[in-house]
């Protein structure tokens, strides 16, 4: 049973590990990715990052991505938590945990989950620059599509 949450509050990585593994001894490895707010972009200092999403679509979209990972890697458990709202540099944005019997499946599933989340889940980031207070929407990177595409043949 996967845990999928979208929230303004921070998450506790240790608590999420504990919840994922509670009462189980069949897990051989947990792949983990944590995305955090960088304090610079294109040589400029970032004051804050504001994340918005499409609430009615986010849950179903994350559910589809998680279901695909569970199917491809026979996961024993999975956690995806994505924050929204105004975040400061250094704060957590996203947590992905993928539990599997073996190392490679856990690592690959975690990679797949974050790559697909970046290209298939309806979240948008806006950066506020420190010097001027100017705001700009983050543009999607072609590299993100390429990262997601490498899983197509797998």
């Amino acid at each position: 049973m996967a845990t999928i949450r979208v929230q303004e509050a921070d998450f506790d990585i240790g608590a999420e590990f504990a919840a994922l593994t509670a009462g189980r001894s069949d897990i051989g490895g947990i792949g983990c990715f944590v995305g955090t707010v960088r304090d610079h972009a294109g040589g400029r200092r970032i004051e804050a990052m504001t994340l918005e999403h499409y609430p009615a679509m986010t849950g179903p979209a994350l559910g589809r991505i998680v279901a695909e990972a569970e199917r491809r890697w026979s996961l024993l458990g999975c956690t995806v938590i994505h924050r929204v709202g105004r975040l400061r540099p250094g704060e957590n944005i996203v947590l992905v945990l993928a539990a599997a019997p073996h190392r490679q499946a856990a690592l690959d599933a975690a990679g797949f989950l974050i790559d697909f989340l970046k290209t298939r889940a309806p979240f948008w980031k806006k950066e506020t620059f420190a010097e001027t207070g100017e705001e700009a929407w983050v543009e999607a990177r072609e590299g993100d599509d390429a990262a997601a595409a490498r899983w197509q043949s797998g």
Partner: protein, 91 residues
């Protein structure tokens, strides 16, 4: 009054599309000829200068119909929820 020749749609805008249209959500009645996402974009573009600006560069606009990714050819039915947004940048 809605005639059989029109369909009512709920339109949502996110990120810079919302900032350009200056509206997060609107309900529209479109003529029967507006039967696909592509035709809807043409129709919405004529609503205001802000809408025109939002849809000016089609390459940077993505769409979902009833919370699922759609493309220009996706057909529309009365009652559909159609969302327009930039390419996603989460994670």
């Amino acid at each position: 009054m809605q005639t059989p020749d029109t369909r009512t749609l709920k339109i949502l805008y996110f990120a810079w599309l919302r900032e350009r249209t200056r509206v997060a959500e609107e309900e529209v009645s479109v003529p029967g000829s507006v039967a696909s996402v592509g035709a809807l974009i043409e129709w919405l573009s004529a609503r205001s200068p802000g809408h025109r600006a939002a849809f000016a560069n089609r390459r940077t606009v993505r769409c979902a119909v009833n919370q699922d990714f759609a493309d220009l050819a996706t057909p529309l039915a009365s009652g559909d929820e159609v969302a327009f947004f930039p390419p996603v940048t989460g994670g």
